[in-house]
Amino acid sequence: MLTEIRIAGFGGQGVILAAAVIGKARAIFEGGYATMTQSFGPEARGGSSSAQVILSSEPILYPYITRPDILIVMSQEAGARFIPELKPGGILITEQELVRVDHMPAGTRAFGVPATRLAEELGRKMVLNIVMVGFFGAVTSLIATEALRQAVADSVPPASQKLNLQAFEKGYEYGASLIEKLREEGETEMVLSFESES
């Protein structure tokens, strides 16, 4: 079973690193397979940035995603461009203070997180990508939390490891409590774990 994920935002938000962490968690720390490809404009900062990750239990052939099962968007431009491509019934994860969602494909389960603000609370806006990864882990249950945590620790410079792990926990907790709240409110459709649906 293949899971196709697209992560998109603007350059400088750490889109590629977020995708690499997710792929690494599956390929290295869970022993499965992952392929990440990326597309970027010539700008190092401020341009559009998008990465594609495919997760699988078997070796992956076709390297690009066709229609993402999961879309993580961190900019309005990326949202406008990629939300229409989301697979029906797919999962949409947004940086809720940067992306306003007007339309989405039928059956989309959408989850928002104020990742930039949460990152700022930790003192460094730049870790918003890892907040997003933590939140992704909690709302999708697609990858073991410990594998994601290990992948975060393994992907950042030693000096910023602690900060990034805090960011991961912050995003994860935000997601876990959101799921808990939805469950209490009886929104069972929303909280179906991704794996159980497949």
Binding site: A19, A20, G23, A27, I28, Y33, A34, T35, M36, T37, Q38, S39, F40, G41, P42, I60, L61, Y62, P63, Y64
Partner: protein, 324 residues
């Protein structure tokens, strides 16, 4: 270094100084390196050139894939010469074939091209790196002869000469001019014929027994997809889909693209209805497939101008049509 012209010759200075060396580029940079690919071929300097192919011509598509430098890799420098080109299709193979590239460059004393494309070049996947002790390394063919007896370009039985390095007392001479076995310029018809012929003949094993390829489902195949690099992964999906539809499709993945594995393709051609050749260009290696198949089966190109990879459906359609 200051530019690709410099990088592509600095590595050769380093090789004659005793090091192993390689350089990496894409698109226009590869064009700039052509002069020294010829120099490496002529002076039999073992070195590795990595080209991450992007859309062209000129500046083209700097961050998007193509496979349109394949003919340039083979023919880009002036004159007659041979090179080896390898086409990895994953980060793991980039690692493994980089080692192979160095080994082959030392064994045959040729420049070896590692022909990636942007998709593989920017791809992130799991790579298993073995212990250094477990990696086979082909050592440089240093001569065992003393300075008085050694001739720098005198070939051994395999048509490849042994080597020395600067500073070891051999007082040797290397030139890009046509040279005799001493390495001295010798611009006459006989030396030109024998030395240039040898540059090509020493690579003959790669047209057959030394060719690197990956095959699957060839036993019963009626249509064979001949592909290389990233396109081979896309093609596999099309092959699987064709099999599901009852068409017996098979895979011939070229790993060593140059010298072209013509003996393998020639042997396969009479056994199949057609060969389908998808590539991220408007027709390059397909000409080699046609030449080797020599009319004994249909050969069908699935072109793509580059910028992304093929849609597997396009390859599937070609397979289904070829099977009719």
């Amino acid at each position: 270094m200051e530019d690709e012209l410099a990088a592509s010759i600095t590595i050769q200075g380093a090789v004659w100084g005793g090091a192993k060396a390689f350089t990496v580029t894409s698109g226009p940079g590869f064009s700039l390196m052509m002069e020294h690919i010829g120099y490496a071929a002529m002076t039999e300097t073992p070195c590795v050139f990595v080209d991450v192919q992007r859309g062209g011509p000129s500046t083209g598509l700097p961050t998007l894939p193509a496979q349109a430098d394949m003919m340039q890799a083979r023919w880009g420098s002036h004159g007659d010469y041979g090179i080896i080109a390898l086409c990895p299709n994953s980060p793991q193979e980039c690692f493994d074939l980089a080692i192979t590239a160095f080994n082959l460059s030392e064994e045959f004393r040729v420049p070896v091209m590692l022909m990636l494309d942007e998709c593989v070049g920017h791809m992130t996947e799991k790579v298993i790196i073995p212990d250094a002790a477990a990696i086979d390394v082909y050592p440089r063919r240093f001569t065992h002869l003393p300075p008085g007896e050694f001739r720098l370009f005198e070939p051994r039985e395999d048509k490849v000469p042994d080597m020395v390095r600067a500073g070891d007392g051999y007082r040797f001479h290397v030139t890009g001019l046509t040279h005799d076995e001493r390495g001295y310029p010798s611009m006459n018809v006989d030396t030109q014929r024998s030395s240039v012929t040898r540059l090509l003949e020493k690579l003959q094993p790669f047209t057959g027994e030394r060719a690197l390829s990956e095959t699957a489902d060839l036993e019963d195949a009626e249509v064979v997809v001949v592909s290389y690099g990233i396109t081979s992964r896309v093609a596999q999906r099309a092959i699987d889909l064709a099999r599901q539809k009852g068409v017996r499709a098979g895979k011939f993945r070229i790993i060593s693209a140059w010298p072209f594995p013509e003996k393998h393709i020639a042997a396969l051609a009479p056994k199949v209805k057609a060969m389908v050749v998808p590539e991220l260009n408007l027709g390059q290696m397909v000409h080699e497939v046609e030449r080797a198949a020599a009319g004994r089966c249909k050969v069908r190109l699935v072109p793509h101008a580059g910028g992304t990879v093929h849609n597997p459906e396009a390859i599937l359609k070609a397979i289904l049509e070829a099977a009719e």
